[in-house]
Symmetry: C2
Subunit: 328 residues, 2 copies
């Protein structure tokens, strides 16, 4: 019911009478009063004015199911419509994978305030302190073949970059294939994992870790990582950022599903690509070499021009861009 | 301790004195006596002769950790060295995947007597009654790239076929890519699943379901499925079959790991391939067509000759062989 009350107060944007809340929700005045009190205890500023009703003035920086559901409302069709929030969890990707194995619907969103076993790429860790970051994972059940799934990282990176630009006004850039950076420092990491059979996807989980309100970083990573707060100078609320990501992602995922191809995203993605037009080191496979990055192609590979002039498509692996740190 | 006693009695093949068991295991006579009694209660026939000791005469058809561990002993280096047995479980593949997510070592073997949510390919079910079949899953942590993993189905199918031939003398055949058949009927199904990042394997789980002692099948599937018992006329013990599969699989997996290629297996695999030299229907992708199967290539694809004489490599998907039923 708290979710419903939050939703009604937000939709109205003005005072909503207790009577109206009771009628809409089909509950007693006392029940409404209790729920409002619980919201106040959770940090919501709700003003109550005699003869006018309740009005929501401010929300705390929480990512609870109530908060996320009331913000998402019907802004999406499936992305984030099923939400699971943890104050503390081992890893949101692990939880989302388990939900996937147990049959949870596509679009299920797992969010945590803190991870005790946060995961980065290739089994590495992802430092996950409480109260200041977003740790979120989305479960997907695509119908396409497993070899198409890596392109979803591109779709998510683009969606996150757009959402962060909208919410903060910061000109974040994408570091191919799975980071978002600002001023040469990492602000977001994306980890796409999938459970597949030979030619069939059971499910895909895309995890997103965002440095939101960290005020500072330990010395050894301060030159490689930053946060939205450090960059724009003010504390950000996390839930609206998550909601914006879900809205963006749903839209671009559905476009991708239609064509199973990234042609529609190539140009706008490349415009946000920090690698573009810069020298990069390609660390994948047997050799390490320098090349000049041109942008992604229609399947999300990074096109690079080697010193001999030949153009190569880099599938995955690690790419470092001079002056842009990739792995924290 | 029951595992150790079973192992000592089996290794000796003759009487082992209570004194010797006590000394080897560093426990009291009473403890040995208790463990022997527990084994008898579990269905083991252990003969006790004054002044000579204990001798194992027969084992029950169980697949418990004691039974499997005492049989595997040091016959393998890693395959099945870590065993988990369930009388009843949702699905051995699901359990093995969860162990994989939680960090269990490569080679971990999950075995069940009954599955309540047995899984076939593409989200289909796998009928899993109690007491008569083998449901087993092996967890692997390969270092190679995800695109190599589908070849593991070929390695497992070959290993299972060899093990069944050794244990039963039946000339079972492989139906590419993931079934074992006999007299045109299915006897084994294999389901390979993996958890991956874009270019990194978290883990692979290979599930094997074997119809061992089923005396009959429901009418609607009796012409498509059979069991080892029906085919060879006698009840088979399941644990020794599992152990034989682990031994074979470890050997061929290690060969595969060295080259990441199936050249070494191509000829012997093709000799056991029921598809070979027969007309097959290829059901994968956009078209269904008839072709003549030639055998696998070095990456495990099925080579087929089409009516126009062209040779094609079929990657995965479903292949039906005339007179051989594939999906029960």
């Amino acid at each position: 019911m708290k979710t419903e009350i939050l939703k009604l107060l937000r939709e109205s944007g003005d005072y909503v009478s207790g009577q109206q809340l009771c009628e809409t929700l089909g509950v007693s005045r006392t029940a409404v009063w209790k729920a409002i009190n619980q919201l106040k205890e959770a940090g919501y500023q709700v003003e109550a004015v005699r003869n006018r009703g309740y009005r929501i003035i401010d929300s705390p920086d929480v990512m609870t199911e109530e908060e996320l559901k009331s913000l998402i409302g019907d802004e999406t069709k499936w992305a984030g419509q099923n939400v699971c929030y943890y104050g503390e969890v081992d890893s949101t990707n692990l939880r989302a994978k388990q939900f996937g194995d147990e049959g949870a619907p596509g679009g299920t969103l797992v969010v945590a305030d803190m991870q005790t076993a946060g995961r980065g790429r290739r089994g590495r860790g992802w430092d996950s302190p409480a109260g200041s970051s977003i740790y979120m994972s989305v479960l997907l059940r695509p119908k396409f073949r497993p070899d198409k799934a890596p392109m979803l990282t591109i779709v998510m990176a683009y969606s996150v970059a757009r959402a962060l630009r909208k919410c903060t006004g910061l000109d974040v850039l994408i570091k191919w294939p799975n980071d978002i950076v600002l001023n040469g420092k990492k602000i977001v990491g994306i980890l796409t994992e999938m459970s597949t059979e030979i030619d069939y996807i059971n499910h895909v989980v895309i995890g997103v870790g965002i440095n939101v309100n960290l005020a500072s970083f330990p010395e050894e990573i301060a030159e490689k990582a930053t946060s939205l707060r450090i960059e724009c100078g003010e504390v950000q609320k996390r839930a609206p950022i998550i909601v914006e990501i879900m809205k963006e992602f749903e839209q671009y995922y559905e476009r991708f599903e239609q064509t199973e191809d990234l042609s529609f995203l190539q140009q706008p993605y490349n415009e946000m690509l920090v690698n573009c037009g810069r020298e990069v080191s390609i660390l994948g496979g047997k050799e390490t070499y320098q090349a000049y990055a041109l942008g992604i192609n229609e399947t999300g590979e990074l096109l690079v021009r080697r010193e001999d002039g030949s153009i190569e498509a880099v599938y995955a692996g690690e790419v470092s861009v001079r002056g842009v740190y990739g792995y924290v």
